[in-house]
Symmetry: D3
Subunit: 108 residues, 6 copies
């Protein structure tokens, strides 16, 4: 699961033409998401919150879908994380993430 590094279209080029870079990205991903004390799910919630706080629409969607599908993260857990986004990053970041979460729910 953690090893699965699917970053979409753009990463195919990296895999084919820049194998060294691809390898180190996979490794970084693997090492970062292997918490010494935190489990993967908590780290994933942190990732969702960070990209939501940055108002990054595409990354937020991708991280939420991956968290829900692969790790069984619930909508309630994501909303609790997004409440911290509201506090630390304001309304636009929060409402955008809430809308994305809703759209995902309809798609899944």
């Amino acid at each position: 699961m953690k090893n699965e590094v699917f970053y979409g279209e753009g990463m195919k080029v990296v895999k084919e033409k820049y194998p060294d870079l691809y390898e180190v990205i996979v490794k970084l991903n693997d090492v970062a998401y292997t918490g010494k004390v935190l489990d993967y799910k908590t780290q994933k919630l942190i990732a969702i919150a960070i990209v939501a706080a940055k108002c990054d629409e595409i990354a937020t969607k991708k991280q939420m879908i991956s968290g829900i599908k692969e790790l069984g993260i619930t909508k309630e857990e994501i909303i609790d994380a997004l409440k911290v986004v509201l506090l630390t990053s304001g309304m636009p970041a929060f409402t955008k993430a809430m809308r994305i979460l809703n759209e995902i729910e309809k798609e899944l």
Copy 2:
């Protein structure tokens, strides 16, 4: 604990001169940090990660100290959260947060 809203010097003015605003901030803080499913500690780790991802030195320090002192969050837990910062926000955000964490450790 959650109710304690000490945002430093600047908030004193808000409390005295803008009691309505102060009250709603306290309430927002309280509601946001009362997770439906996530515990306060997990939400605090999320807050630490978000402000670290934004390279906000002062907020990072404040959130880390509050997390360590009030909630017993460990250095290992923070580092696992910062590994997600590294992945999502790059080296400068990560190394800055690691330095702050180290400085805090010496002070505490």
Copy 3:
């Protein structure tokens, strides 16, 4: 007007499932937009400028539409605000906001 808190699809869930959170958000919105000395229109121009400075396309559009429709803010006023965005945040933020403003004009 100020009380109207319509943040789109995502906020419906908040209203239904997280009434405490919804209530405090409405209150915060109300308190924040009740200036002691500045009028609502000036605060709205500030909101437009902030989200434009952050290159947040959706929030910029929403704030501009709300400002124009509800408060009668003119295109000239918005452009004067965006000139400050240009100075403080650079060309990409400015040109993006100018394009959004133009698109809105055609729609309205």
Copy 4:
């Protein structure tokens, strides 16, 4: 006033060694801060809010001091602007700006 472009130490080099660049910066500053409909004071409040929303400590301090000293902007006006920062950008940006405003007040 608007023509005065004093951006501190760094700009001295620009003035001496890059006169073309310096000239266009002065001109840009002048044109941007000559609103068609908004007055300079409103534009300055917008500038203060934008740099505060970005958590830029030094720029926030500089803009506040310039606004207070040169244009007679009051603490109340700045706080009304910062309330929009709170809504759009979250607590850390707001509390940081409130602290800076307080520090300035003591210095002036």
Copy 5:
């Protein structure tokens, strides 16, 4: 080439209604992109990297297309620049820019 300042729809209004502003923007663009020591191509790569680091989708696409078409910047050069984006700004910024680069390649 450097003089060509085509910032899309939004800038037409500026050109027609705010000729002073338009003129200073053209001049700023010209002066900024006339390096004392760096060539235009290197500056363009820097521009691509900056907007990619900020996750600004539209600006990234615009800068990449302009760099490839007008200056003959190669995909390999852009990827080398994006590797710095990966280091300094994390995976979401990098993968987004890589995807945009791929989409552009298919369009051109």
Copy 6:
């Protein structure tokens, strides 16, 4: 040179307690800064510009010093890079970076 990964105090802990993470960071740094077509110096100028565009004071200083000392990057080259920062990210980012550059010059 490229292999030298000295990120200050914070990284010591990573090296000692998180050797896996340290190793992958060193490797990432090495791979990213080994351009297929761009030389290290150009990549370093890109790194300087990115962190300056983000108004990250400490990272900007660190990258500038490293670029000047290790790679012989000149003040003129950095200023040409910062002119792109001015265009894409506005005055506060530019003037801050110019001030840092001046301070470094006096220290070296």
